[in-house]
C-alpha cells in the first residue's frame, strides 16, 4: 500500500479534530491514531509573551518536511500521515504545529510522531521571534532538542 503524506505549511489555523478524523474516518485498517499539537505558550523562560512570530524559508520547509515525511513512511508501517506547520504571528493558546500518524499498531504511530516532532524542532527551517514587554527577540535553539533528534539517527 502506498501512503501519501499530507503536508501543509500555512499561515491559517487548523482544526486538530478534522485532521485526526481525515486519517481514520470510514477506515477499518487503522488501529491507532496519535496526534501531537504544539501550542503557543503564554510565557518563555518564565517571561510572559504577547505573541510569537514564525519566520520560515518556504521552499526549503516544503523540501525538508517532505523528506522527513518520506523517511517516516519508510521506517514505520503507517497508514496515514499529516503534518501542518504554521508561520506568521501566533498568540498564546493558538496552534503552531500538528503531526498526526495512523497505523495498525500503536508503537509505530507513537514512534513516527515523535521522530517527526524531533526533526521539525531541529531541522525544519522555521525561526520563532517572541514579543514581550521588553521588546522582540529571537528564541534560542535548545540543546536538548538536538539530543532528542539525534536518537533517531541510524547507526
Amino acid at each position: 500500500m502506498t501512503v501519501a503524506a499530507t503536508i501543509r505549511i500555512q499561515q491559517a489555523d487548523f482544526d486538530v479534530a478534522q485532521e485526526i478524523a481525515a486519517l481514520s474516518r470510514g477506515r477499518t485498517d487503522v488501529g491507532a491514531v496519535v496526534s501531537f499539537s504544539g501550542i503557543c505558550r503564554g510565557s518563555e523562560q518564565g517571561e510572559p509573551i504577547a505573541a510569537l512570530t514564525l519566520e520560515h524559508y518556504p521552499e526549503m520547509a516544503e523540501a525538508e518536511i517532505g523528506r522527513h515525511a518520506d523517511e517516516a513512511l519508510s521506517r514505520w508501517p503507517l497508514q496515514g500521515l499529516t503534518i501542518i506547520h504554521r508561520f506568521g504571528r501566533i498568540t498564546p493558546g493558538e496552534n503552531i504545529v500538528l503531526v498526526v500518524t495512523a497505523s495498525a499498531h500503536r508503537q509505530a504511530a507513537f514512534e513516527a510522531a515523535e521522530f517527526l516532532m524531533d526533526y521539525l524542532k531541529t531541522n525544519a527551517p522555521f525561526w520563532k521571534r517572541e514579543e514581550s514587554a521588553r521588546g522582540t527577540s529571537w528564541i534560542e535553539a535548545q540543546g536538548h532538542d538536538d539530543a532528542a533528534a539525534a536518537r533517531w539517527t541510524k547507526s
Binding site: G38, V97, N123, A124, W127, E140
Partner: protein, 83 residues
C-alpha cells in the same frame, strides 16, 4: 548565485536576499562565510560566530565544508526553532 538570509542573520545583514559572484578561490560554504564577513561591518556582525551559522544549498542542509560550485541558492540562518 543567489544568497538568502533568515531570522537574525537577515536582520544583521540588512537584506533578505541578494545575488553575489564570489571569486574562484571561494570554494566552500565556510569560504563563502569568510568572504561575506570581510565585506563590511553588517556582514561581519552577522557572521561573527561562524560555528553558530547554519547553511543550506538548494534547500538542503549542508556543513561548512560543502562545495558551493553549481549551487543556485545558498541560505544562511541561525539554528532552527520551529515545531
Amino acid at each position: 548565485m543567489k544568497l538568502k538570509y533568515f531570522a537574525w542573520v537577515r536582520e544583521r545583514v540588512g537584506k533578505a536576499e541578494e545575488i553575489v559572484e564570489p571569486p574562484a578561490e571561494v570554494r566552500t560554504v565556510g569560504d563563502l562565510i569568510g568572504w561575506l564577513a570581510a565585506r563590511d561591518d553588517a556582514y561581519a556582525y552577522a557572521f561573527e560566530k561562524p560555528t553558530v551559522i547554519r547553511a543550506a544549498i538548494d534547500h538542503a542542509h549542508v556543513k561548512s565544508d560543502a562545495a558551493i560550485s553549481g549551487a543556485r541558492e545558498i541560505a544562511f540562518f541561525p539554528p532552527m526553532t520551529g515545531g
